[in-house]
């Protein structure tokens, strides 16, 4: 289930219609499907649209009890200007970017190494290690916040980026996903390299990793989105306004701006923008990532 393959038609980012079935005429059923799908799509897009309209209103119009899609005193970018002058959104975006990138990089390195060992090397204690890692999938992160906080306090890491990054690099489910992918790489490819006297590390770096790009990309994107959007742990680990990640920073903005609705929506949209852009660029890999690593509901 975790490694189900997807055909191009599902995943392609191109606008070509699905080639799976022969194209049919627009029957009544098909028209009904389009209508229902469109109704749902509109419902799903309304919050974005409403937030965007609000962000481009003046605060007076936004706080008017008369709800309007076209503001009486016209559209204005004032709210965005104010949010930018405030200066925190760019800083928090940067914080989110580099902590998420660091988490993703460390996760990829340590997970692929251990997954390779579990997949290919016969070493003593492998079964125990595998069992422990699989069992740990069930530990819900919120259960660890109290001991982790205390641990970070003892290590003097509270209110540093380390506190945000380090505990987020363990993804037992991702190890499992990578191992299953490595299992499918033909052993002959490696045995040839072994015969040529290549070391394990060389085989890993030059044979296995290049063949694993799709799954590495999927895991990377998945871990990145998770880290980018994580709220609870960064919220606990940092108080220093200059270290906050975007989701945590936004939470403080909400109380600081109070009833500044336009500014609230402008900052929410600015915070949403980077990942929406990432999605538009990597749509195919992201969808594939959900399908292949879907088991990893972390």
């Amino acid at each position: 289930m975790a490694t189900q393959t997807l055909n191009r038609a599902t995943l392609g980012t191109s606008t070509s219609p699905a080639v799976r079935q022969p194209r049919k005429k627009m029957s009544a059923g098909r028209i009904a499907a389009v209508v229902v799908a469109a109704v749902i799509a509109v419902l799903w897009l309304v919050p974005f649209a409403w937030a965007t309209v609000t962000a481009f209103k003046s605060e007076t119009d936004a706080a008017s009890p008369k709800v309007s899609w076209i503001p009486p005193s016209g559209f204005t970018a004032d709210a965005f200007v104010k949010v930018f002058q405030d200066g925190n959104i760019p800083l928090w975006t940067w914080n989110s970017l580099y902590t998420s990138a660091a988490i993703t990089a460390v996760t990829l390195v340590i997970s692929s190494l251990v997954a390779y060992a579990l997949s290919r090397i016969d070493f003593k204690g492998k079964k125990v290690l595998m069992t422990v890692i699989i069992a740990s999938i069930i530990v819900p992160p919120p259960v660890l916040i109290i001991p982790l906080f205390y641990q970070m306090l003892a290590l003097h890491m509270i209110d540093t980026s380390w506190a945000i990054i380090l505990p987020q690099v363990i993804h037992p489910a991702m190890v499992f996903v990578l191992k299953k992918f490595f299992d499918q790489i033909p052993r002959e490819l490696e045995e040839a390299a072994v015969m040529d006297g290549a070391s394990r590390m060389r085989i890993f770096l030059q044979v296995v990793l290049p063949l694993s790009r799709p799954i590495l990309a999927a895991v990377a994107i998945f871990v990145f989105i998770g880290a980018w959007n994580n709220f609870l742990w960064p919220f606990i680990a940092t108080n220093d306004a200059s270290l906050l990640t975007l989701p945590v920073g936004l939470q403080t903005i909400k109380s600081a701006y109070g009833i500044q609705y336009a500014q609230n929506m402008a900052s929410a949209l600015l915070a949403a923008l980077p990942l929406i852009l990432v999605f538009l660029f990597f749509q195919r890999q992201i969808i594939k990532g959900v399908a292949t690593t879907g088991l990893a509901g972390t």
Partner: protein, 313 residues
């Protein structure tokens, strides 16, 4: 590379055969490289997962507080107190309630979305994008969007409802409605993930099934009920399983939209853990509640496992 493959296959030179692999030096080498590859992960795993799990159990047996007072072991007193704590039971109850009422729409709506797109509508990417895009948002963004739309006086939802004659609803302030308001926001936010899992599973159903059915004169509806839905059993089991586990961990959107209110009506278990630890300063007690919550999750997982086992047997 090819020469070494030939060498391996030639008789008398079976270096990598199972028997030969078992020489002492190669076993040692394998043990060394195996643990060598595992070490970086293991270090993080032990320090940031295993140790907190173990240390958390110890903490739950102490009177530890954030102010540093009373670090001594007090045995099971925290657990005894927790079991008598009506607020804890209420937060666990809220969590279970949310899990039950959120899982049904989060699975059904995802199924409907995927079934609609599986018909082969034009501009697939546009539908996928609109259904899935909210999943990319941080909980804070979702909460800002919905707090704004739920606003009783200025919000879009009440305004739209009033146009069809439905009186104003105090979405986040009415104890009977607040949890449903959270469910709606959560549905909008996360259903795209389940939708993609369903869509992937549907696209994996061999096209021959549909071709054969078309030849037999089965229409789209018939195909949906006779081919597509029956093939989705294992996917549905997996989605329900993941969804239940995800819903049990609810915290972010509740904390941000209602702060657990009104009057604790939406406060979930994770928030109660957070509050006893960081607002109430009682780390030991908070750790004990964490493990009761953990126990609940294990219990639900085991129940799901047993049920799915029995079904498939």
């Amino acid at each position: 590379m090819s020469s070494s493959l030939i060498a391996r296959r030639s008789p008398g030179n079976r270096v990598s055969s199972p028997a030969a692999r078992g020489t002492r030096s190669s076993v040692t080498r394998n043990n060394l490289s195996g643990w060598g590859f595992a070490t970086p992960f293991l270090v993080f795993f032990l320090v940031f997962l295993v140790w907190p799990v173990v240390y958390g159990i110890y903490m739950s047996l102490t009177g530890k507080s954030l102010t540093g007072a009373n670090d001594s072991v007090i045995g099971l007193a925290n657990y005894a107190e927790a079991f008598a704590d009506a607020d804890m039971w209420r937060s666990l109850g809220n969590t279970l309630y949310f899990t039950v009422i959120s899982t049904v729409p989060l699975v059904l709506v995802a199924l409907v979305m995927a079934a609609l797109l599986n018909v082969g509508l034009p501009a697939q990417w546009l539908w996928r994008l609109s259904y899935f895009a909210p999943y990319l948002l941080a909980s804070t963004v979702v909460s800002l969007f919905f707090t704004w739309m739920y606003n009783p006086q200025l919000g879009l939802i009440n305004d739209s409802l009033s146009k069809i004659g439905i009186p104003k609803i105090a979405w986040l302030n009415d104890p009977n409605v607040a949890m449903w308001a959270i469910v709606i926001a959560t549905l909008w936010w996360t259903v795209g993930f389940n939708f993609l899992l369903y869509l992937a599973a549907m696209q994996n159903i061999p096209a021959q099934h549909y071709e054969a059915a078309s030849l037999d004169g089965a229409g789209a509806w018939r195909q949906l009920f006779s081919i597509t839905l029956p093939q989705l059993g294992p996917t549905t089991v997996m989605i329900v399983l993941l969804q239940v586990l995800a819903s049990l961990k609810i915290f972010d959107q509740v904390y941000q939209m209602t702060a657990g209110g009104p009057g604790g009506a939406t406060r979930p278990a994770v928030q109660y853990i957070f509050e006893t630890g960081f607002t109430g300063y009682r780390l030991g007690y908070s750790a004990a509640i964490s493990y009761i919550f953990f126990g609940l999750i294990v219990l639900v997982s085991v129940m799901q496992f047993v049920i799915t086992r029995r079904r498939s047997a």
